[in-house]
Symmetry: C2
Subunit: 224 residues, 2 copies
DNA sequence: TCAATAGTGTCTGTTAGACATTATGGA
DNA sequence: TCCATAATGTCTAACAGACACTATTGA
């Protein structure tokens, strides 16, 4: 009835894993075993009996040594754009790992700042652009910024991450007021001193349920 | 080198097409040619040389006689859930057609209010739930409400559509103020009288570019 | 001491939501 | 005329952004 050996899927799972690197987003790339120096998003033709989410998690864990703190499907990309494989459809996943996560040893993987990317296959380039858009859009629905930070962080760290993702400066007092109103973080007992200046208290991500205030509706951004 | 005849893809394209029907969202379903009365989301194994978007548009046009006013990919759904086909991956698309669009004659298609749906295959049920979530999320990024309305509509029509999609009542004066500030609609010369009460002016969707005001940041909705 | 960063209090213009009022048709 | 709905004006509480100020460290 069912085959004993699992077949390879005719499709691929591709990963766009981000981290924060020196005030820039960075993407995990994999050095292809080809002749020349070539880089690609990690991808694989998964076994047919695996779930999409399962494949993505497994591939990420194999590449990084641990599961990303956040992993979500971006979508399917078809044969109108070239892919390293001959696959028909590639399903892209977006993952986030905290700043400071090193790529696995061996040199097969490396972090590339999104501003200094090598040439990628067209289909993977499209995925990457879509992934960055997705992060912006998902910021206020998922704890994107927190998954790019270590478990404890200063409020300045957090604000810088938001500014990196949004691509604009934020007002310090307003940011902290909004943070307090949203009950997203709780203070720890630790403080961190970095160079000069007053030490900053460390916080951790600890969302509490709050009354769904959600004043008003937003029609502004309808035509971006 | 390349095959002469186009192969069928091992994957499927599935459509979740919505319209507005009596204060409810409704979905286009297709009567399967099986023995018993069974309904399914329209789906197809497209030829391998077609793009994903192209397939979705073609299938929608075949089912409805015209392209939906809005059509966007929802994502890929894998083999962890059952599908009418034996396909490995199904790529779902979400489409919107104006209220009042009839299903094609012949009885093969029908609109079902989302509250009164028949049993669907698990994978298609998951797509449907995802599609509804997507509409909510995309409302303030795409003209979702406008694509569910005819070309001209009253401001009350528009507000009702927003209320239907958001699942909550909106304040009339605030809604209209926000609408005016966003420069999304322009008045026509026509007025419509429905039963008693003052006739309402008809408007059309006509977005103008505006300065990106976008006051503040939204951290509230981070934990929904 | 100065410089630099963390964290907080206050003020002000803007706006969402409430309420009231006018406008205009049908019954 | 009364009623129902459209459309608009006004008031108020809430809030984003600006500014200023204090706090606390290293140089």
């Amino acid at each position: 009835m069912s085959e004993r050996r699992t077949r390879k899927s005719p499709n691929t799972i591709d990963l766009v894993v981000f981290t924060a690197l020196k005030d820039q987003l960075a993407v995990l790339l994999w050095r292809t075993p080809d002749a020349r120096e070539k880089w690609a998003l990690p991808w694989e033709q998964p076994p047919s009996d695996e779930t999409l989410d399962g494949s993505a998690g497994r591939i990420a864990a194999e590449a990084l040594g641990a599961l990303p703190g956040w992993l979500e499907q971006l979508g399917a990309f078809g044969n109108e754009k070239r892919h390293p494989s001959e696959s028909e459809i590639s399903v892209a996943f977006v993952g986030l790992v905290p700043a400071g996560t090193p790529p696995p040893v061996g040199g097969a993987y490396a972090w590339f700042p999104v501003g200094e990317l090598p040439i990628l296959a067209a289909r993977q380039r499209t995925m990457l652009d879509g992934a960055i858009s997705m992060l912006r859009v998902r910021m206020d629905q998922s704890p994107v910024a927190f998954r790019l930070l270590p478990p404890t962080f200063t409020l300045s760290d957090l604000q810088h991450m938001y500014e990196l993702l949004l691509g604009k400066r934020l007002h310090k007092a307003s940011f902290r007021r909004a943070l307090q109103a949203a009950w997203l973080v709780e203070p720890t007992e630790e403080w961190r001193s970095e160079g000069r200046g007053r030490p900053a208290q460390l916080f951790r991500y600890a969302p509490r349920k709050r009354r769904p205030t959600q004043r008003g509706i937003r029609l502004d951004m309808l035509t971006s």
